[in-house]
Symmetry: D3
Subunit: 137 residues, 6 copies
Amino acid sequence: MIYITRRERFSAAHKLYREDWSQEQNEAVFGNCSNPNWHGHNYELFVTVKGEVNPETGFLIDLKRMKSIILEHVIHKLDHKNINLDVDFMSGKKASTEIIAIEIFRVLKPHFDQESVQLHAVKLYETENNFVEYFGE
Amino acid sequence: MIYITRRERFSAAHKLYREDWSQEQNEAVFGNCSNPNWHGHNYELFVTVKGEVNPETGFLIDLKRMKSIILEHVIHKLDHKNINLDVDFMSGKKASTEIIAIEIFRVLKPHFDQESVQLHAVKLYETENNFVEYFGE
Amino acid sequence: MIYITRRERFSAAHKLYREDWSQEQNEAVFGNCSNPNWHGHNYELFVTVKGEVNPETGFLIDLKRMKSIILEHVIHKLDHKNINLDVDFMSGKKASTEIIAIEIFRVLKPHFDQESVQLHAVKLYETENNFVEYFGE
Amino acid sequence: MIYITRRERFSAAHKLYREDWSQEQNEAVFGNCSNPNWHGHNYELFVTVKGEVNPETGFLIDLKRMKSIILEHVIHKLDHKNINLDVDFMSGKKASTEIIAIEIFRVLKPHFDQESVQLHAVKLYETENNFVEYFGE
Amino acid sequence: MIYITRRERFSAAHKLYREDWSQEQNEAVFGNCSNPNWHGHNYELFVTVKGEVNPETGFLIDLKRMKSIILEHVIHKLDHKNINLDVDFMSGKKASTEIIAIEIFRVLKPHFDQESVQLHAVKLYETENNFVEYFGE
Amino acid sequence: MIYITRRERFSAAHKLYREDWSQEQNEAVFGNCSNPNWHGHNYELFVTVKGEVNPETGFLIDLKRMKSIILEHVIHKLDHKNINLDVDFMSGKKASTEIIAIEIFRVLKPHFDQESVQLHAVKLYETENNFVEYFGE
């Protein structure tokens, strides 16, 4: 069993807020992350898959294939976008790093299943000081 | 003559666009940076001052003082904000990395003059692959 | 189950030595880490907690709360200090990276228990080339 | 149980290809990694061992000893070498990051067993965007 | 006058040697960099241009244009190649980091002249510990 | 004219204080950097030399020679030491980053003069957020 991780990045706007709360409530819970005019981040995404090495190639999975799956289904939907407003798989969900990581895992899992490798983890950095990991359970 | 550099960071939303252009024109020139719903970045700011070492202290400038100047006049105005909408010193200006760096230099210069050190450079990273430097001339 | 990690840093002096050993014995075992006049490091600390996302907020734990727990109980006691002489929770213990990481875990665990999240791991870098991880067991 | 990780680096040439395939087949599967004249990387290697802290020293293992094991058995054989042509433990094997990581694990395991610590993981970066992990099973 | 820097990367094989010297002479001068079977690096390239900000756009130069110039004329020729054997602008030249940086500057200069910006510097990292800068004079 | 930079690192203890001042005065000026029991850092040192490329070798200076000069005259004197107490070239001087950088420049300059290259700059990081540069004038 070998694990391969690919790093990709996206730059996006978001805010943390609930429409059913007043701005005062949102500020009390979400602080400056609730700024009505949005803020943004350079997110850093690490996707890890696992499985057996193919003895024909020495590969677990072709990294070009792995990259294209992540770009098509995740990065192209998030990069230079507003996470709250523009991203289909985040519609109606809170744009916290926790939820974004969980939803990226859900989006990617079936595509790696088709490649006969197992999606092991999604790790998402919001800043150099904060990151979230989700293992699918 | 010695040079001291302090790094600070801010996370902000912005877009590149001109209100006097159509969305098609904006997209043609600014690409996905013109997304109407904004995007954002973790900006990394390096401020460099220069001058003579004070023989009493061995310091060019107290780094706590240098940090508080940058936080008060730049970081607190930009962090978790929308650069196009929320920042007084960017009002009416394009939110390109070039212009942001130039305006940060203009904002900081008089405050370092008062401390008897010379503002030498502002270096601003938009992503890990792109940065701008401005030396005041 | 989601995992969140927060990075904090502290700069401290220490040495590796046993008072019941001669300086020769200390040098033989601890090498230049036993320099009687101390040396020091910029330590980099990664604290990981795990638990369920709160559906009200989309958070596992408010990162400002997580940060303040780490600062109050760990960073403020270690930063700009001598680990052998100045730190209550290291009193009478060897100041190896292994022991520092274990003691930080012990100090932090009850405070995260009170927040209803589980302390998962403490990862401590002594230099860019060496780090230690402790998972509480 | 405590985990210690040591980072080392090596710069090496390699290519991905099968001698029993035509150059066209090699290009179809391995892309530009099959360039007949080779290419190369600055590999970054993280070796993790685990075990109990020795109460005499506060150490799991002396990091100088850990470093010398990695240098003697791995780095000195790979650094400034051609992985396909010059490295005994890679002879007859494909020079993919996956296989290199697995073989480094096999080479190192008995040497750490002799030190009474357990080799836990080998993590190998080929570029800043791609890395592989192997845990020995 | 504003300065913009773009980072790009390439992975390549090379060796340092002179064909008019014996292998012993090559080893005496170039050490393990003269390994006959090559070695390689992940090179990190920083290209800096300077000029006036265009008031129409807030740009010195469109970064997508800057990127495509560097990719077309430099990266695509060096990435996953053998610098000594495969690269037209390095033909007959020593593959030291110094010479590679100077030749990249020469290759890029006319292309930035056509864009009405001035090529200021080429900075080339061979490893995380060594880099070279060339300013064209 | 080409510029080459070599990075080296050292871990050391220090404090900022004046013996002719009371502890209260020292704290007022130097803050927690005046802790009587010392603190410490992982310092990161970048040494830059400049000159003409030797057409015989393609080198400005052999990097192994450059490294051995820096190790012998600077790193071996500072690493795992107390900068205030153990380092000959810092004797009687304040251990601020500014002064350490200036003294490193003074120590290194004659050794590079002997190699027929010119010492251009010393850049010294105290933390990831603070660094000092000295150009010898």
